[in-house]
Subunit: 228 residues, 2 copies
Amino acid sequence: MPVSQNIKVAVDAVVFGYTSKDGLSVLLIKRNIKPYKDRWALPGGLVGDKESLEQAVQRELKEETGININYLEQLFSFGNPVRDPRNRVISIAYYGLVKPDVFEVNAATDASDAAWFNIKSLPHLAFDHGDIITVAHDRLKSKLLYQPIGFELLEAKFPFSELEKLYISVLDRPIDRRNFKKKISRFGFLEETTEKQALKGAGRPGNLFRFNEKKYHLLQKQGINFEI
Amino acid sequence: MPVSQNIKVAVDAVVFGYTSKDGLSVLLIKRNIKPYKDRWALPGGLVGDKESLEQAVQRELKEETGININYLEQLFSFGNPVRDPRNRVISIAYYGLVKPDVFEVNAATDASDAAWFNIKSLPHLAFDHGDIITVAHDRLKSKLLYQPIGFELLEAKFPFSELEKLYISVLDRPIDRRNFKKKISRFGFLEETTEKQALKGAGRPGNLFRFNEKKYHLLQKQGINFEI
DNA sequence: TCAAAAGTGTTCTTCGTACACCCATGA
DNA sequence: TCATGGGTGTACGAAGAACACTTTTGA
């Protein structure tokens, strides 16, 4: 067993946002220090001696991007000895989901060093952050099929087509609308409201749905087979 | 962002073994230093500056228990600031599976400080190692339902009933033998040999099965719905 | 009246699930 | 011949998958 050790511990966050206009996107920050100066990277940084890992992620997100997220989960720990060219740093990666209002606000503040990038057109990233995003995207895809976490990416009320487009976008494959609706309806955590979607162009306006918090959280705990 | 940091990085391993006689078991070591002196704990220790996380796990397992494992996967990182009473230590936990021959050999060397404990009769453990085992057991249970990793716990050739008992033991619930066999057979990675089980008592001897490595590894990558 | 998007049902097949009797062996 | 454990099939219901036309709205 090594008697002394010189390894630093960091956290990094892959924050996903979604709008039907921009698709599935990831929040990145531009580095202003070496190494990888001026390259895009995941928000994150060293863990404080007294804070938990989750606290460290939340703190870094607030410091670097100003956002609060409503869903956060540990992803994987990356420990390749040479993943940081300076010293050895292991990174405990998390992924998070934010609702579209957060997404929109931040997309507007383009003076900042934080920006959203569509998952399909990511820039060249610092460190092994490209790999981390790949792992996070895979996790999101598979999680979407057995837990209803997709709702964490939507407004409180949304037309059904919004949920459908989210699934299409994240899974990156077409879905049959009728089968999808049948499947979702069976679980019973969706409630149809009497309101209708505000129109933004041609087409029949859809009814708005919300989810039943109780049933939703119950199912989120249990896990369900969500295959679409 | 903290300017300096005083956190150590450790790995811990939850190694599962299985025999139909002893059920699902976990490999533990007896601590001979403080804190928690003389308490049982997971094998593990600090990561060396130059080694990968997986290398650190394999090294610690060899040093502390003498075993080599054939399946190893990262489980979760535990970062509670007070999980170690001395300094802050985060632990990156792994879980591993070993085949019964390894299990038997080690169970015999009872002079050592390492021993197998049935998952249902674990001793009081050091640190948060009880929690880590719970997480590992949950992961194994759910993984068993969508990836055929159960075979990593069996000999190369085994009677079908052995696989069935493994599932019953890990999932801790009864399974219908006929439905189970139908399900497993559909995947097509099992091959029936012409050999028969060596008898150890009364009862009809079962045919021995092996798995088709190619199909097995293909499915292990893809993941399948294994619900029993 | 046309283009755009939402809403809706049926059929076929596959899979899950419940369930009980016969067979080969050792004692 | 008995006790033990292995081996096997059927029938029902639920869910997955494939598939196209009608409705509502804005332009």
